[in-house]
Amino acid sequence: MTVRDVQHFFGHNTQKDLSLISSDASVFHGELGFEALGSASDICFVRRKQCFNNEYVIVTEKMLAGMGLKESGLTINLAGLQLANPTVLASGILGYSTETLERLVKGGAGAVVTKSIGLKPRKGYANPTVVQASCGLINAMGLPNPGIDEYVEEFRQARDILNVPLIMSVYGYSAEEYATIAKKAAAAGADAVELNVSCPHVKDTGSEIGQCPEALAEVVRKVRASVSKPVFVKLSPNITSIADIAEVAVKAGADGLTIMNTVKAMAIDVETAMPILGNRVGGLSGPAIKPIALRCVYDVFERVKVPIMGCGGIVDWRDAVEFLLVGASAVQIGTAISLKGPNVFRGVTLGIKRYLEIKHFEKVEEIVGLSHRS
């Protein structure tokens, strides 16, 4: 494997680091448990600087094979992003701090999406912001975030430390705002942006844009024109035809889609006859919405050619495989962290790998959309 292959495989971020690697790279006893390094010629994986006390972690092809990572065929290309496995942290979950993102990456996330970031700081709604329903959660956080200018400081730090694609979720109140934030995100090192045009509980943004084809197309076009990184669009199920709106997003330039955001919902307390959420209405997530999300991915896959990240109620590997079968190239996980903890990503990945082995598939992409053949 050549240096160029490595760059091709892991994207532009490795370029700077690679020039610094000498052939006599020292032995590294990291938490991955590698004992020795090969020569620089068979390098195929490079962690970024500052990962562990300013040392480089170099993984040779042999080691990757030993870990079962390369041979497992779990790596995927998502609109140009290279993921070591198809599990992704969904937006809105634990996405503020570098340390928590790092923990989720250690828990096995193949990529992470940050909380949705706006132009200005936003406090979000008063509690209760999360209510537990029968088979999931209803939340109305209200897009709390420190604002892009403050957040890029934190994000740059994450960029330096984390070796997975970092996708910044952005929201705005106009196409210009989306574009401005996306530009700043890309400048801070975001590998891609995910446009939140589907938050069901904040006025004048989110699903109010994602439900209007003209507004959506304008947002996607403006963002597409202002950044060179892949643009993902996260769509809302709270619409008549998600496939129609997906087509609008793709025609306007979306490189990939996240299907789907939460389902608009509410909870009522019978003693006081009051809506429980501070904002009265919120979005339902968790196992309750998985069948809806599966159907949405199925419909969208029939209509568009761009990669889809499936999202909605994924708790275990079986859920994830179902999403892959209906057409998702990757899956986003959020609510399940409250049940299974930050290592849920690793568990799901191992389950997918086992499924591929048992069913005699070599690569995860072979099962993407398999349910459409009949």
Binding site: R122, N127, G136, L137, D269, T272, M274, V315, D319
Partner: protein
């Protein structure tokens, strides 16, 4: 699909049974809740004041008969509304959440500051009858804010465990901060463990004293909390979520979060701000 455990912790409606004024700014509220009644010392619950807010509170007491109590200091809109509520008022409860204090039975030093006394009173109730020896250090700004003095004297008295107090204005006990008392106690005596709860700056100081004396510390932290189930990221300190990985942390964990511990927290926007 695996059973979705979080669904077993839905919001329950309950009514306030008793309200008791503990100090000019603190009241305790008792209500019935079967799930929280099983709580261990150190755990917390989320209390919904309908139409106002939902706030995290340390559990002050939990009984087999299903009664649960919390101590609430009047600090903002939600606690003000709660202070105005009388017996019979409806509340919503979620919990118990988080971990609890490890019950070390050797020589125990307990350090409580302000409303941080609540979880330590709960701990003392359960632990004092079983522990070998100990000291309880209680601190507050002024005499009237020294919480649960009578109950503590009763519990500790039975096992001849000294209760020593400090107030910043000198109106009761030693004048100054309770950490000064902790320093003196640690200079004289060795402990197997220190339990602490109070303002984070106080806990940080206790942590440093514990490190100097090579004594293990377990302390309960407080942060802005929203989801309480480890998802929203409002309450993080370093790589930990106070709601799901805490609220009780050990010396080993405090060493890992030294930059933030006692120095900064996150505001409602997620921005890092200095601790007051």
């Amino acid at each position: 699909m695996s059973a979705y455990h979080i669904a077993a912790n839905r919001l329950r409606a309950t009514t306030i049974l008793t309200v008791k004024a503990e100090s000019p700014t603190v009241k305790t509220f008792t209500f019935k809740d079967a799930q929280c009644a099983k709580a261990q010392p150190g755990q917390f619950l989320m209390l919904w004041i309908p139409g106002v807010d939902e706030i995290p509170l340390s559990i002050l007491d939990a009984n087999e008969d299903g009664l649960v109590s919390v101590a609430v200091k009047r600090v903002g809109e939600a606690t003000q509304a709660l202070h105005e509520a009388k017996a019979g008022h409806f509340l919503g409860v979620r919990g118990p959440f988080g971990n609890s204090f490890a019950m070390v039975k050797g020589r125990v030093l307990m350090v409580a500051g302000g409303t941080g006394t609540a979880p330590l009173l709960f701990l003392a109730k359960r632990l004092v009858p079983r522990m070998a020896r100990g000291v309880f250090v209680l601190g507050a700004k002024t005499k009237s804010e020294l919480l649960f003095m009578n109950q503590l004297q009763q519990i500790l008295g039975k096992s001849q465990i000294p209760l020593i107090t400090s107030t910043e204005d000198g109106s009761c006990g030693v004048t100054g901060l309770c950490t000064e008392l902790v320093e003196q106690v640690l200079a004289k005596e060795k402990f197997n463990i220190i339990y602490a709860c109070g303002p984070e700056k106080m806990i940080r100081k206790v942590f440093e004293l514990a490190e100097e004396n090579r004594t293990n510390l377990e302390a309960s932290l407080e942060r802005l909390m929203r989801c309480a189930i480890g998802l929203c990221g409002s309450c993080t300190i370093g790589k930990y979520r106070v709601c799901a990985d805490g609220p009780v942390f050990t010396s080993k964990q405090f060493r890992e979060v030294k930059t933030e511990f006692g120095n900064s927290k996150r505001d409602p926007t997620g921005r890092r701000i200095p601790l007051d």
